[in-house]
Symmetry: D2
Subunit: 357 residues, 4 copies
Amino acid sequence: MAKMKAAILVAPGRIVLDDKPIPDVGPLDALVRITTTTICGTDVHILKGEYPVAPGLTIGHEPVGVIEKLGAAVRGYSEGQRVITGAITPSGWSNACLCGTCSQDGAGTRHGWKAMGGWKLGNTIDGCQAEYVLIPDAMANLARVPDGLTDEQVLMCPDIMSTGFGGAESAGIRLGDVVAVFAQGPIGLCATVGAKLCGASLVIGVDRLPDRLRIAGLMGADHVIDSSQVDPVEEIMRLTGGRGVDVAIEALGTQSTFEGCLRVLRPGGTLSSLGVYSTDLTIPLSAFAAGLGDHRIVSTLCPGGKERMRRLMSMIASKRVDLGAMVTHRFKLDDIEAAYALFSEQRDGVLKVAITP
Amino acid sequence: MAKMKAAILVAPGRIVLDDKPIPDVGPLDALVRITTTTICGTDVHILKGEYPVAPGLTIGHEPVGVIEKLGAAVRGYSEGQRVITGAITPSGWSNACLCGTCSQDGAGTRHGWKAMGGWKLGNTIDGCQAEYVLIPDAMANLARVPDGLTDEQVLMCPDIMSTGFGGAESAGIRLGDVVAVFAQGPIGLCATVGAKLCGASLVIGVDRLPDRLRIAGLMGADHVIDSSQVDPVEEIMRLTGGRGVDVAIEALGTQSTFEGCLRVLRPGGTLSSLGVYSTDLTIPLSAFAAGLGDHRIVSTLCPGGKERMRRLMSMIASKRVDLGAMVTHRFKLDDIEAAYALFSEQRDGVLKVAITP
Amino acid sequence: MAKMKAAILVAPGRIVLDDKPIPDVGPLDALVRITTTTICGTDVHILKGEYPVAPGLTIGHEPVGVIEKLGAAVRGYSEGQRVITGAITPSGWSNACLCGTCSQDGAGTRHGWKAMGGWKLGNTIDGCQAEYVLIPDAMANLARVPDGLTDEQVLMCPDIMSTGFGGAESAGIRLGDVVAVFAQGPIGLCATVGAKLCGASLVIGVDRLPDRLRIAGLMGADHVIDSSQVDPVEEIMRLTGGRGVDVAIEALGTQSTFEGCLRVLRPGGTLSSLGVYSTDLTIPLSAFAAGLGDHRIVSTLCPGGKERMRRLMSMIASKRVDLGAMVTHRFKLDDIEAAYALFSEQRDGVLKVAITP
Amino acid sequence: MAKMKAAILVAPGRIVLDDKPIPDVGPLDALVRITTTTICGTDVHILKGEYPVAPGLTIGHEPVGVIEKLGAAVRGYSEGQRVITGAITPSGWSNACLCGTCSQDGAGTRHGWKAMGGWKLGNTIDGCQAEYVLIPDAMANLARVPDGLTDEQVLMCPDIMSTGFGGAESAGIRLGDVVAVFAQGPIGLCATVGAKLCGASLVIGVDRLPDRLRIAGLMGADHVIDSSQVDPVEEIMRLTGGRGVDVAIEALGTQSTFEGCLRVLRPGGTLSSLGVYSTDLTIPLSAFAAGLGDHRIVSTLCPGGKERMRRLMSMIASKRVDLGAMVTHRFKLDDIEAAYALFSEQRDGVLKVAITP
């Protein structure tokens, strides 16, 4: 049986590169040879044991590659085509998918409903930090890369671009809205870009790291606030003349950023939550106007599926957006353990790493 | 100066009927002679000092009456017409109103944004538990009562019908949705009716009082759950085959009901919050799927304005809905102190009282 | 090779019952043994040659039956289960599906976009007026019939209930809307019911046949207008006090009904078009306010997929709606030619026929 | 009685500058001293007698100026403030306004519904091509100009920017949509800009004038098509690989552009209509997929009101958009007749003129 290299979680705290069999291809699957992938903040949660997955699992959910082999029932593709898939790989045929909630697709559960059911790669099945990855429900997920786009240009599409933009879209941003984005890590930066693309007139970026605030400014934030120096709530209320913001996007997953978002919201405004939380959240009574503020709180899991990927790549192809600057470091798959070390310690101003087998 | 009787908050714990001058009519105002009004749960909060208003204020925000006098700039009405207004009396011309958030209209604040700014009657200006009430921005608020409808038939429109229905509407209920309504007091009953009118296939009512569950059944709940006997979360998950509900409506204002709503929500589902809370709220991590469940939490303050009232009355006129059974007791204005006693102690199965000067 | 009986279009004007091989089951398919089906107005268009399909095709797109055999890749079902599928059988995995336009799914076309691509049964592949039908993309389409519901109770779900309700949903009906439905054939009756379920305060049904107007009244129309006796536009403007309707639903497919809808629309109102037209349409300048009326015209092709079917059946199971009265005649499959004759000539007050092999 | 100069329609074909009394200020009005205004394509329709208004009316609906005097009931402003108002001046308090259809506000009609009722300036009351203009319902309409913005920078806000952007917004453009804009006059150019601001990945501009196509390219169109040289429908289908566009915006008001839009629409796509038509329109059967294409046709009248103006100006202030290049010519009010001649004949590459008293 042919072998491949894969980044495997052996135990909390340990991801190692090891050999694994190249998987068999079922009738609805596609085997994709990875040409570039990356590491996500969620992978670091897995590494640290904060988010549990089964020992032995291959990690990674951001694949760029080439179709190596197609399942017997897969139509519409041919081997050798360059493709990406989303981090979320909906089946298309579940009740969740057919009800407009593709990310919540969960094939194995009764009636097809289970939170995060749509996130399979590197979560419930082997992921793509490997030489090969098996993509389930290939016809719903393989998105061809337009000619002329490099691997690195589309590397953010599967997860952070889809998630960050999704936060802006779920908020229902309207032309002329003022938007605050709490935290300017990779997801937050994509939310900043997404808010502008959705028509915000003013985007305010908040973070504690000067490097990230600098990049936020380069990527389109109109104002940046260093929350290690000033109270971002006070500063945002000052910037908006006491009015507050129409939309606040949470992009870190902490009580502090969640609460900051709620406190700067105008009556009738929307908090769009993207972070992965690790504790219960508190909604302060006053920030919620005792329930009478016509507020909305929406959470968004990364939208996936091939149509989503097609749309995101089309925005890169037409130069609406360029996230190339987010790839700050490059590693060979053989050195992925070093990449995890750098990324998890956020050394050297790292934003995203490119991993190539 | 002519005098009238009015129910006045003299201090926390004390609402008394006393004389007050009949107010002068400004250019945009209308003076309405009250023919029927009622007491709201919020008024009881005011009485108990849980929601602070200025001592000396006339309480009440659910007016049915007759136009006594119109302001000099008011067009389109004539004296003697039967009218209601919403509990919320938007100006129509504020930025909040023009941005689609009429309930959050707040004329006095900078840029027109302030939570609950639209609730003026019996909150920031004199209310309608009196012989006369002055309606601000009359042209946006006076809604003529269709011929053939009695005062009691339209008495629920200004607040609880608009609020309860609003909870169903804000949730974006779709044909075939399963909806749980936590608490079956007046607002919750209206939410139950509203959920059905919006197309829910199944409405599950939850309360601790057998009387209210009985009425919930009469008003259209398909299932009722006595939360003093069984765990409503378990019961709802059982009823839905483990799937959870598409929409859960919170109609009481407590952590327990808020949390119950969140726990029965399917991934991608919506919690519609109507209650007035008195403490911070906690979002349990698991119930919120760590932020990855594509959940929405929306809060709704009673929609007001004459068009809203026109629509609600049209549904009564066409017999789509009959809330007459909710008026369980009747009092003269002279006896309003007794009415407050009965209503605040929830004696004798009281749902709503009708007060007539 | 095993044979079955099937209603086959041999040439325009001729549908005959003849033998055909029972089809082979591909990996994504399911073979369903039909227990009840019906004839649609569209089938009559096919019969008359007004809508062209390939000679030799089995007609019919409204299946109720039992799973006879499942494709090798189909999971989540077992043979012997009672199921329906929609008239439209989306794949789930096309770009159209993943973009929220399942009815426009068209697997064979480039990029997956082609009008009506989602309608396959009895259009581009063999249909269900037969002893057996092959359902493509079975996992997206097989919807289990809840215990306790008869075949006839769910017989309207695949097409006319989904279409009629879809017309009400696409129009974005809000609580308190006034809705006119032009034509009260099977689709129009379902639109009448759907408009009420979506919260319309007043539904006005228009038709030329007294029988249909009588049924419209029974099924919930508040007013009915006999357009053979009075001008429906004038009558609707009179009924609405000159205001016009919020939503007008076209349910026949003619210039006259389309234009009537547009003429009774208030500024800002929505025309929801369900009919299958056979000629170009004219938008009169005045009815369209020269393009300045903030009008919307939306057309809706029958929504399909198993989740849609699940929702529709849930509304029948909870007794929100009962379309049983629409089955006016019953035939054996052996007599389907007689059924076509009766139905196409609209004899004996026929609304829908039930066909049982 | 004090006099002012005003551009008055004396008869079809003749607009002259003449003296008129400065109007009295009613309780809800504001008198604004005009500092800059412009001429709209609609004004040319009025001039030519194609759109009838009362002889003697002052023309113009795009005011930039300074508050000269406030009505007795107007609060929240002071004299001397720089303001604009929209071309549409909603009251805020009509049923249409309170139902979310401010442009269709028509105070004088029964129930407040009448197409275009919201367009008053230079239509049903005196307009702003004059030294002074009386603004009705001032509190809903006066929008303060942010410090630092010149008259010319905000001159497009009242009409063409609001209309053009409105066409993109009404279409519900989503991130990654492909949008075609038929006609690149002032409105079409604003629709092109608006489509990009709403997140379109690709905007295709169509016109017959090379000058306008050149400007379309400068203002963000990704492709431009000269419809005098090639068939725009074929070209767009080619550019989209046969898929068609998600949204097509009509910005001229002719059968040809309307039909072109419909023919390039993908199934499930939206035609957003902005033009003012002068004849009945034809919907070709095939372009409309016989009613089965899930198409939407939406028409949009310029959104108005002070909140809309505030939002548009905020986008200029934050440099999201710069329409300054659209002012190609400048005239004194005294020379407005020459300005009309230039503009109506579309000489010298004119896009918009600035008129200053």
